[in-house]
């Protein structure tokens, strides 16, 4: 009874949410535009037109799937046809040997492609830009050559012929319109997945990883895991489309199933339409495929090569003139226009922020212990036997001259550098002591850090930047947005929450660093020179802010050059010079320490002063 009573309002809210979405012009316009892909060929009713539209749907679906890795995750794969080919071959071989319906076989192919995707992605994701592209090309070539070589299995270069068993069960039809239904369904599915990712935690994480890997790590995002998720989804989708297309052409050969040219083509559709957007890949395909069909007809045999020449030239021109693609360049303009339609432009109602993670534990207990940290870069010893113990609830200041090794210590106690020797243990939220290894693991244990050189996600807005941090504790988008808004208010960024981060001045960026870290709701906060570049009044606010944070139970370590601020703020000071801790203790006592003055002002000064 009580459960039912509780459930009803939630269900009602969901329903009204769905209804209100349908009246949103962005939704109904997209659905209308999409349905044209089905309506036009059905209305014209010519098998050739159907073929053109099947081709559009297939390539748009492939490009949409590619965009998840190439656009969202920023990993420019030029070997995506590997998954298409694996899907096609698996399905066809299962029909041939086990008379298994392609409807089942395509999922087997997708599963295999996901595994291959992990196999390719896991080792290659550490490669940057062009080298990742080259590696994917190499994988494609290897698979193609193997498919040719092992002709006992694949039929080799002679190809594999799909037996013409008709009917829905075998996905082969005399009525060509049925192919369109399936192709359109696949496209819808791919776009729905793409849209869902874009508007979820995963989408934010992928953008974060693409823009700044370090900042993403600090927000608790495991770069490799997120990219792997993207490649798994993308590989699976690509493979499904490949299976269908193999049934459509009914003939598979390594040269077409694992074609480098087609791999480049599907990437190109995304680029022309707009990388990293939901609609881009479809737009690019709808524009280019019919044009290519027509051009082939017009230019055809008379001018062998002209068609490819125009293709290549257009690609170069697009990169030079519209690097954002169609959706990136005209998208905002179209969206603004659509929002003026009936039912548009309504803002979502205020959403209540979820509870922040409570911090428990006894004040004063050791919460982070670093023992004998040694960090060597080649012959240079950056930190030499540094041991620091952090107590719950304190503000610990780390000071020292430039190049003393402060940031190196930070990098070690936040997992960004693995110490040459020494150990770090952290007390997690559950009270257990752990020794995390990777930076994202530190972050999830509650060690949040900012970067001395700011690391904003330039193409995201201020609020979205903070949301990347908030996702660590709040997986749902609405929750994360509300939590991020709360942090923005606290840090004083609410007024500029919709500004793209790359447009912020340095002071704002510093605060954004703090906000993004704070949104991860850390129990330990590592602040690396957050006062630098701030005005006098901003510094005051920052000091105030740090006190507020501490009062909420967070333990703070701050590296700072602003002596006045750090002395007034800290409960305890650690002084580092040449990679060693030379003094620690109460701020007032530390400043009187002879070694500290020497380190800062030089021995001569010390002698002259007679200290």
């Amino acid at each position: 009874m009580t459960a039912k009573a509780l459930a009803t309002p939630a269900a009602a809210r969901r329903k009204s949410g769905l209804l209100s979405r349908l009246t949103d012009p962005r939704v109904y316009c997209s659905l209308l535009a999409l349905s044209l892909l089905l309506i036009i060929p059905v209305a014209i009713d010519s098998p050739f037109i159907v073929h053109v539209f099947v081709t559009i749907c297939v390539f748009a679906a492939l490009s949409t799937a590619w965009n998840i890795v190439g656009g969202y995750a920023g990993q420019l794969s030029l070997g995506h046809m590997v998954f298409y080919g694996i899907g096609g071959y698996t399905t066809a071989l299962l029909i041939q040997h086990f008379s298994l319906s392609p409807w089942i076989g395509m999922w087997a192919g997708a599963a295999l492609s996901v595994l291959v995707g992990i196999g390719i992605g896991y080792p290659c994701f550490r490669l940057r830009g062009p080298f990742f592209s080259l590696a994917t090309i190499a994988f494609l070539e290897v698979v193609r050559l193997l498919a040719i070589h092992f002709h006992g299995v694949t039929g080799g270069a002679a190809g594999l012929i799909v037996p013409l068993k008709l009917g829905w069960q075998w996905m082969i039809f005399r009525e060509k319109i049925n192919y369109l239904y399936i192709a359109f369904g696949l496209l819808l599915f791919a776009m729905a997945v793409s849209w869902a990712i874009r508007n979820s935690k995963l989408g934010f994480y992928l953008t974060a990883v693409r823009e700044r890997e370090d900042a993403a790590l600090a927000a608790g995002v495991s770069n490799t895991r997120v990219k792997l998720k993207a490649v798994m989804i993308s590989a699976g989708l690509t493979s499904l489309v490949g299976s269908f297309h193999a049934m459509y052409i009914t003939f598979l050969e390594p040269a077409t199933m694992f074609s480098l040219a087609t791999s480049i083509e599907i990437a190109m559709f995304s680029l022309i339409g707009g990388l990293g957007t939901v609609a881009g890949p479809l737009l690019g395909t709808v524009l280019v495929v019919p044009l290519a069909e027509l051009a082939r007809g017009w230019l055809g045999a008379s001018a062998n090569g002209l068609h490819g020449f125009v293709y290549g030239t257009v690609l170069v021109l697009i990169t030079l003139t519209l690097p954002g693609g169609l959706a990136g360049t005209f998208g905002p303009w179209v969206v603004r226009w659509i929002d003026r339609l009936p039912g548009g432009g309504t803002r979502r109602e205020e959403y209540e922020a979820p509870e922040a993670r409570p911090i428990t534990g006894t004040p004063g207990e050791p919460i982070l212990t670093a023992e004998n940290l040694v960090m060597k870069f080649g012959g240079l010893t950056a930190t030499d036997n540094v041991s620091i113990t952090l107590h719950r609830g304190e503000i610990l200041g780390i000071i020292g001259p430039n190049g003393a090794g402060k940031t190196t210590i930070f990098n070690q106690i936040s997992g960004f550098l693995k110490p040459t020797s020494g150990s770090i243990s952290v007390v997690g939220p559950d009270g257990a002591t752990r020794t995390p290894v990777s930076a994202d693991e530190f972050a999830r244990l509650g060690v949040g850090r900012t970067f001395q050189i700011v690391q904003p996600f330039g193409k995201l807005t201020v609020l979205e930047n903070i949301m990347v941090g908030a996702f660590m504790r709040h997986a749902k988008v609405d929750d994360a947005r509300a939590a991020a808004l709360r942090v923005a208010r606290l840090v004083g960024l609410e007024d500029i929450k919709d500004v793209e981060a790359r447009n912020l001045p340095i002071g704002g960026l510093k605060r954004l660093e703090v906000a993004r870290t704070l949104a991860t709701e850390p129990s330990i906060l590592l602040l690396d020179e957050v006062m630098a570049g701030q005005s006098q009044s901003d510094t005051q606010r920052m000091v105030q802010l740090i006190r507020t944070i501490r009062d909420s139970g967070v333990t703070v370590i701050a590296i700072e050059h602003n002596m006045q601020a750090i002395m007034s703020l800290s409960d305890r000071i650690v002084v580092v010079d040449s990679g060693r801790v030379i003094a620690q203790g109460d701020p007032q006592e530390v400043v009187k320490d002879r070694r500290v003055i020497e380190a800062y002002l030089g021995e001569d000064f010390v002698h002259a002063q007679g200290i």
């Binding site: 052409i249 003939f251 077409t256 082939r296 045999a301 062998n304």
Partner: protein
């Protein structure tokens, strides 16, 4: 209500009459790769069909109806499917002729079969095209199996006698590029060599994009191969002959399977003296005895008159011959329905040595021409001349390859 029925009936009648009017011309589809990498020989193949159709139209067409040709450009299998769909549905052709490339043919025939439109293959050699139990796919030209068999048989029937040795004493090496063409031909070669009890010592696939065939040549050389069977495109043929010379590899005979071996450019790039004596199995070429291929010289003249150049390869001739066989069959069919055409094609009975290619025509249940086999040719003095069988030969087979 009655009025409505009448109108409906009238409309139906009018609609059914429209195709009947259109039947005043016979529509055929011409599906070839007109653009893309295969365009050169795709276009050359098409010219054979074009000449055959023009010739027939000049004589009043097919049973008095002019033949209208509709071109379809198939660049890749997806495109072949699309164009085949267009030809069978939009243009509603009575039959499709094509295709030159085997993968395009396989893709397109799958569409035509489902649409119930006869598909006449005049140039693609992959065997499975006529091994799928299709009702409406027919082929006049020899298959890769015929190529392979002729190449292997040439060792015992032509090369060994010329050398004056026992065929079983010759060491045979098979090398081939690893795409569809090379892989299928080489597969049949291996089988045939086993059947014939020949001494096959090496089978080496390689990529046609190779920039170095020295390892292949060294393998052949160290195995002491006497006869090399190569299935290759142009680039790898050039590379093979050049590097064979560089490495001082001197087999007693080299036999190619058309492809790069038939092209004049290949000889020019290699140097005629280096390719002197290279044997080749391919569609009938123009230096063939007209006694065995009546009409071959007339075709060459017609081609020259229409296009202003001599034929670029034997593909046009093969397409011309095949097109004529099928157009004759269509003319003799009781109507142009697919079943009537099939019935007519099954009745075709043309003896060997009576067509411009020298091939006969008699189709098996699968639609494959059984009276067809490619000739053996040889490069002599920069010309590709037919040397075997005896009847078609214009020159005697010489032994040795290259200047050595």
């Amino acid at each position: 209500m009655k009025l409505f029925a009448k109108v409906a009936l009238a409309t139906t009648l009018a609609l059914s009459a429209a195709p009947a009017l259109a039947q005043e011309t016979v529509k055929i589809g011409a599906l070839y790769p007109f653009s893309g990498g295969l365009a050169l020989l795709g276009d050359e193949s098409f010219r054979g069909l074009e000449l055959a159709v023009e010739e027939r139209n000049a004589k009043g067409g097919l049973n008095g109806k002019p033949i209208q040709m509709i071109r379809g450009d198939a660049v890749d299998p997806n495109q072949a499917v699309g164009e085949a769909r267009r030809l069978t549905s939009v243009d509603k052709v009575n039959a499709i002729f094509g295709t030159y490339s085997s993968s395009l043919a396989i893709a397109a025939t799958q569409v035509a079969e489902l649409a119930g439109v006869p598909y006449f293959e005049l140039g693609a050699i992959s065997d499975p095209i006529t091994e799928r139990g299709f009702q409406y796919t027919f082929r006049t030209n020899p298959t890769s199996k015929d190529f392979a068999n002729r190449m292997v048989d040439a060792i015992s029937d032509a090369v060994a006698p010329a050398l004056g040795v026992d065929p079983k004493s010759l060491k045979v090496g098979i090398i081939h590029e690893d795409s569809l063409y090379g892989q299928t031909v080489a597969g049949f070669q291996q089988k045939r060599a086993q059947e014939k009890g020949l001494n096959l010592v090496e089978t080496l696939p390689y990529s046609a994009k190779s920039v170095d065939l020295t390892p292949v040549i060294l393998r052949l050389k160290s195995a002491g191969v006497d006869v090399v069977l190569q299935t290759s495109y142009q680039n790898d043929t050039v590379l093979f002959f050049r590097q064979m010379k560089d490495q001082g590899f001197k087999p007693k005979a080299v036999i190619g399977a058309g492809g790069g071996y038939s092209l004049r450019d290949t000889v020019q790039a290699v140097g005629p003296e280096n390719m002197e004596g290279a044997l080749n199995v391919d569609f009938t070429q123009y230096r063939t005895n007209p006694a065995a291929a009546p009409g071959i010289d007339a075709f060459e003249k017609k081609y020259q008159a229409k296009y202003g150049t001599p034929p670029r390869s034997g593909h046009s001739l093969a397409n011309y011959m095949g097109a004529n066989v099928f157009l004759d069959a269509m003319a003799s069919a009781k109507d142009l329905s697919a079943d009537a055409i099939r019935e007519a094609v099954m009745k075709v009975d043309v003896p060997e040595g009576t067509t411009p290619t020298g091939w006969g025509a008699k189709f098996n249940e699968q639609g494959q021409n059984t009276r067809v086999s490619p000739f053996l040719m040889q490069w002599q003095g920069g010309e590709l001349v037919t040397v075997f069988p005896e009847k078609a030969a214009v020159a005697k087979l010489k032994t040795g390859v290259g200047a050595n």
